[in-house]
């Protein structure tokens, strides 16, 4: 097997004296969907933020396409092809849908591709196309999630990281979101997905890593993880 696209080894992140995560290892092979599972507060968001360069790791290594990237600034990481659709969307609510997408294209080397990428987002999320001049702050929750994903796609990433794409959305909207993510996977995009909804994530992902109180405790194919009796214990907080 080829070297993985992304290899995280023994990642540690501290917030002052607080430990965000202490020992997280993940491997993401190109073209696969990897789920990052764990209960609330386990360290999923911290891990994704560290990969995006928004927080700096205190230890461990992050290898991207064979080179080390820990300690790289957030804007340089986007340019290397890693995009994050953050938890809570973090949209620019006083700007229009189209302006949010334009900001998403900041890292794009070739600005002439903006139009093509935008049209791709609008074809993936037709709802947004009709609202392109509307302020992001006036969108529904589902549309905001779509815009957050669409905005992340505007940098034309090789790896798309999604932090809780189903959080707070109506079941029908969640289904539509995952259907769209399925299209992206079919196009060959690599996805790293943090999800609290275990069933949903294991159904969709190829492999999964389970994080418990800041440490990765289980890893394997989605099916292995789903059948592992320790999974539920990890979610309930029992020591493994």
């Amino acid at each position: 097997m080829n070297a993985p696209l992304l290899k995280v080894s023994h990642l540690a992140v501290h917030y002052g004296d607080l430990v965000g995560v202490s020992d997280v290892s993940i491997e993401v092979a190109e073209g696969t969907v990897v789920a990052l599972l764990g209960s609330n507060g386990a360290g999923k968001t911290t891990t994704l933020n560290a990969l995006a360069g928004l927080v700096q790791p205190a230890g461990g290594s992050i290898e991207w396409q064979g080179g080390r990237i820990e300690g790289t600034s957030a804007d340089a990481i986007v340019r290397q092809g890693i995009a994050l659709s953050p938890e809570g969307w973090r949209l620019f609510v006083t700007q229009t849908v189209e302006q949010n997408l334009r900001l998403g294209a900041t890292a794009l080397q070739d600005r002439r591709r903006f139009g093509a990428l935008r049209d791709r987002v609008f074809s993936l999320f037709p709802n947004l196309a009709g609202r392109r001049r509307q302020l992001a702050g006036t969108l529904s929750g589902g549309e905001r999630q779509m815009l957050a994903v669409g905005r992340a796609l505007m940098s034309d990433p090789k790896l798309l990281m999604l932090d809780e794409p189903s959080l707070g959305l109506a079941p029908a909207v969640v289904d539509a979101m995952y259907e769209t993510l399925g299209k992206l996977r079919a196009e060959g995009l690599t996805l790293l997905l943090a999800e609290q909804s275990m069933e949903l994530a294991l159904e969709f992902a190829d492999t999964a890593t389970v994080i418990q109180t800041g440490r990765s405790v289980l890893a394997g194919t989605a099916q292995e993880i789903a059948e592992n009796p320790d999974l539920h214990r990890a979610y309930l907080g029992a020591a493994l």
């Binding site: 928004l54 957030a74 804007d75 973090r90 620019f92 700007q95 900001l103 992340a152």
Partner: protein, 321 residues
């Protein structure tokens, strides 16, 4: 009503250009010049404080640098005070490059407190700097030696110079607003983390904004020194200089092109009138009013007067809202 919306900024500038010539009263003419001067420094502050959302309470350091550069060149080397303007601008770049990178690591209130502390420190340093007159300050020329000293009995020539600088600054800000830089700065103001995670080089653009903002604030300081002909640590580096810029911009509307000018048109006459009416014992009265204004803005209209504009101008904004 597109023609109307295009026309009103021009109308504002035309009115400003002729306003002080309509009165022969030197007090009003002087107030008019001070309004425009305050609008320059508040508009300069607005680039970093309004558009980029980095609320600096340390801009007095730039104002003081400009003012001191002018009167030091006059007092020590006999040059016309206006020659200090380019020196002040260069010095402001150096200061921005030194204080920008460390303070930009601070967010929100912490950035405000950090810049506040640096400006307070600067004031103390100047008080103890004998070469720059220490606590006594520096004087400008008492009599004009040539036209280059820019010493006029009447305030109107100052008014004209200040207005030209303000027009240049607002034109630059307008261009910036529509450029990629304006777009990035607003994104940084709205959400620094989000902007960063999309690939906006946040630290670099904040530094660009500070360089522009500091340079024009230093220029305002030089112009102040040229007109007033005196500066001491408090009138150059005092904390109220910074507070003035913040309050004026906040009253008019932070992050809007004409907000700081609107704020200056309201606040400066208020301050000058209370000073004139109450005399020496009442010079603090304007600052009591400032406190009240800050509370009213924060409570009822955080976007400043610019937020109320659509209520007045219903036709203009309904489509955008």
């Amino acid at each position: 009503m597109i023609p109307l919306r295009r026309a009103w900024p021009v109308a504002v500038l035309v009115i400003l250009a002729i306003a002080p010539f309509l009165t022969a009263n030197p007090f009003y003419q002087r107030v008019a010049a001070l309004v425009v001067l305050a609008a320059i420094s508040a508009s300069a502050w607005n680039v970093i404080g309004g558009y980029a959302g980095q609320i600096s309470f340390g801009h007095s350091i730039y104002f003081g640098i400009g003012a001191y550069a002018s009167l030091l060149l006059f007092g020590r080397f006999g040059l016309p005070p206006i020659a200090g303007a380019p020196l002040g601008i260069v010095a402001s770049f150096v200061v921005s490059l030194i204080i920008g990178p460390p303070t930009f690591r601070l967010r929100g209130h912490y950035f405000s407190m950090g810049t506040f502390a640096i400006a307070a420190l600067a004031e103390i340093l100047v008080v103890n700097w004998k070469f720059a007159g220490g606590a006594i300050g520096l004087m400008g020329p008492a009599m004009p030696r040539s036209l280059a000293d820019l010493l006029f009995r009447n305030s109107l020539p100052y008014y004209a110079i200040f207005l030209a600088v303000l027009a240049l600054l607002l034109a630059l800000t307008h261009l910036m607003q529509r450029s990629r830089m304006g777009f990035y700065l607003r994104a940084i103001g709205a959400g620094e983390r989000a902007a960063e995670s999309l690939g906006v080089p946040v630290q670099r653009y904040k530094l660009y904004a500070l360089l522009i903002s500091g340079a024009f604030t230093a220029l305002a300081g030089s112009l102040y020194a040229v007109m007033i002909g005196f500066v001491d640590p408090e009138s150059g580096f005092g904390i109220l200089i910074s507070v003035n810029m913040v309050v004026i911009a906040a009253l008019g509307g932070v992050g809007t092109l004409f907000g700081p000018l609107a704020g200056a048109i309201i606040l400066v006459p208020l301050q000058e009138t209370t000073n004139a009416l109450l005399g020496g014992s009442g010079t603090g009265a304007a600052y009591v009013a400032y406190g009240l204004i800050i509370m009213l803005i924060a409570r009822f209209s955080p976007g400043g007067l610019a937020e109320l504009w659509p209520l007045i101008n219903r036709n203009g904004r309904r489509r955008a809202a």
